[in-house]
Subunit: 283 residues, 2 copies
């Protein structure tokens, strides 16, 4: 999907969140932000939002020298999610439809998005995840379950650190040996990288690859060959989060998008209200 | 007060609100927004926010050819406020301390700020104004009343169209013949101009001047000689709204700021929580 005018204040806010973490000196923060505004004056609105976000976060890294400002936040969210995971697994086990419960947990975990809400606290996030397990999801979970049962190569495109822990019950229900989980190639916002996948214990239950890219989404022309091979070979893609939806929603592929609608631009594009927990079929 | 990093997303949002009203073509909107981002890359954070906002709205006017995108909104808010004014005047007459009630109404009217909230509806605004009449105000209304009683030349620096109608009971209680009401020289956002002052009936109760400026605040070096004379000669200034607070808060002058705290930047500078209805002594 294309970027919108409304993405601009959001890009600026995201950049401020990152620059506040990465830089202590207010004058330097202002210099960095001025450079980012200059870059936004060149924005190509035909591209999805993660393309401009990628550029912004490249500037942030090069100007501040801080490669991973959200490393601490990612570790905190992952550690807290790991602590809570056993209780969520027990709750899922009590549902008649355990697959649907695991899907709802995976979608709910998408609230852990510091790109959409930079001041999100762990408490807010985990409260929201806990409540969401019993809330309805827009979309056809049965269709996803049928797609899973007839797939032989599933690519699970992860989104954020911490969220990835809540993907585990669903990943664990996918046919063994058929699943590859893809993370970002380079740290950007709180998107999960290999390090976060390892901390979430993903290598114990699935193959893990990275996409070789530093965009907070899946910009295919930017991805490495290992990811592109896995993507081409997959007969089912499960895509987590808004950034992956924004970049893959126009792809002709057997794909399901699992995400929480967190902004009016994605709400407009998807036709789903803001706040919706969605299981949306693409392709 | 200086501008803050957090002003940037707000400037962008303000510009989007205006460009959506002024321009129908999405491609042209994007071109205008790119130019505005380019301008924000040059922002001087030492200046108060209305200085950058002035530049942005100059670009909007020159790029779109629309001099007053909020003319319609200003007329709607003024007309609705004029309809409601008699009932508010009756309510004020029932208070033991009518001066305090008039001050609370004037402060509450400051909610009508399309710069702070571009999608504010008339209903939301007037509900908020109605509720606020009985709510406490942070600050010393008694000190303002004493300052008024010992003043011989009062300059009342107005803020927004519609809000100006709710300033009328307070202006009407100021010593007759001592009051000049100042509005903006050029339309910017929904700030009141001479036209809005006339529609609000202000010339019937006070002298009206304009400040000759197109900033959404009072940038003294930008103001015309008539305004500057009135400002220098005034022994009391009553300043309405955030934009005037942002530009006059560092002035050495006998001044009271009446406004609603609508953003974290002004909250930080004033030490008052967001949402506070404030009567703040300056100088």
């Amino acid at each position: 999907m294309r970027s919108s005018l409304e993405c601009i204040p959001c890009f600026a806010r995201q950049a401020i969140d990152a620059v506040r973490v990465a830089v202590n000196d207010e004058a330097q923060r202002m210099t960095v932000m001025r450079r980012i505004m200059g870059e936004l004056s060149l924005i190509d609105f035909r591209q999805p939002p993660p393309v401009a976000a990628r550029t912004i976060h490249r500037i942030l890294r090069s100007e501040t020298g801080v490669d991973d400002p959200f490393r601490g936040a990612k570790e905190r969210f992952t550690a807290m999610a790991m602590e809570l995971l056993p209780s969520f697994e027990k709750r899922i086990a009590r549902y008649a439809d355990r697959f649907a419960a695991a899907v709802r947990l995976a979608v709910a975990g998408n609230v852990i998005d510091l790109g959409a809400k930079g001041d999100l606290t762990e408490e807010e996030a985990f409260d929201a995840v806990g409540r969401a397990l019993d809330e309805p999801v827009a979309g056809d979970i049965g269709a996803l379950e049928r797609a899973v049962s007839s797939a032989s190569k599933i690519l699970y495109v992860a989104d954020n650190a911490g969220e990835l822990v809540f993907d585990r019950p669903l990943i664990g229900m996918l046919p063994a040996g058929c699943v590859t989980v893809a993370v970002r190639g380079v740290p950007v916002i709180n998107d999960a990288t290999r390090e976060d996948a390892v901390a979430a214990g993903i290598p114990d239950i699935a193959a893990v690859i990275d996409n070789g890219s530093d965009a907070p989404g899946t910009v295919l022309e930017d991805c490495g060959s290992e990811f592109l091979r896995a993507y081409q070979n997959a007969d089912l893609v499960i895509s987590k989060g808004q950034g992956n939806y924004e970049t893959l929603s126009d792809e002709d592929k057997n794909i399901f998008f699992l995400f929480k609608v967190k902004c009016p631009v994605v709400a407009g594009h998807s036709g789903l209200g803001q706040g919706t927990h969605a299981v949306l079929r693409g392709g």
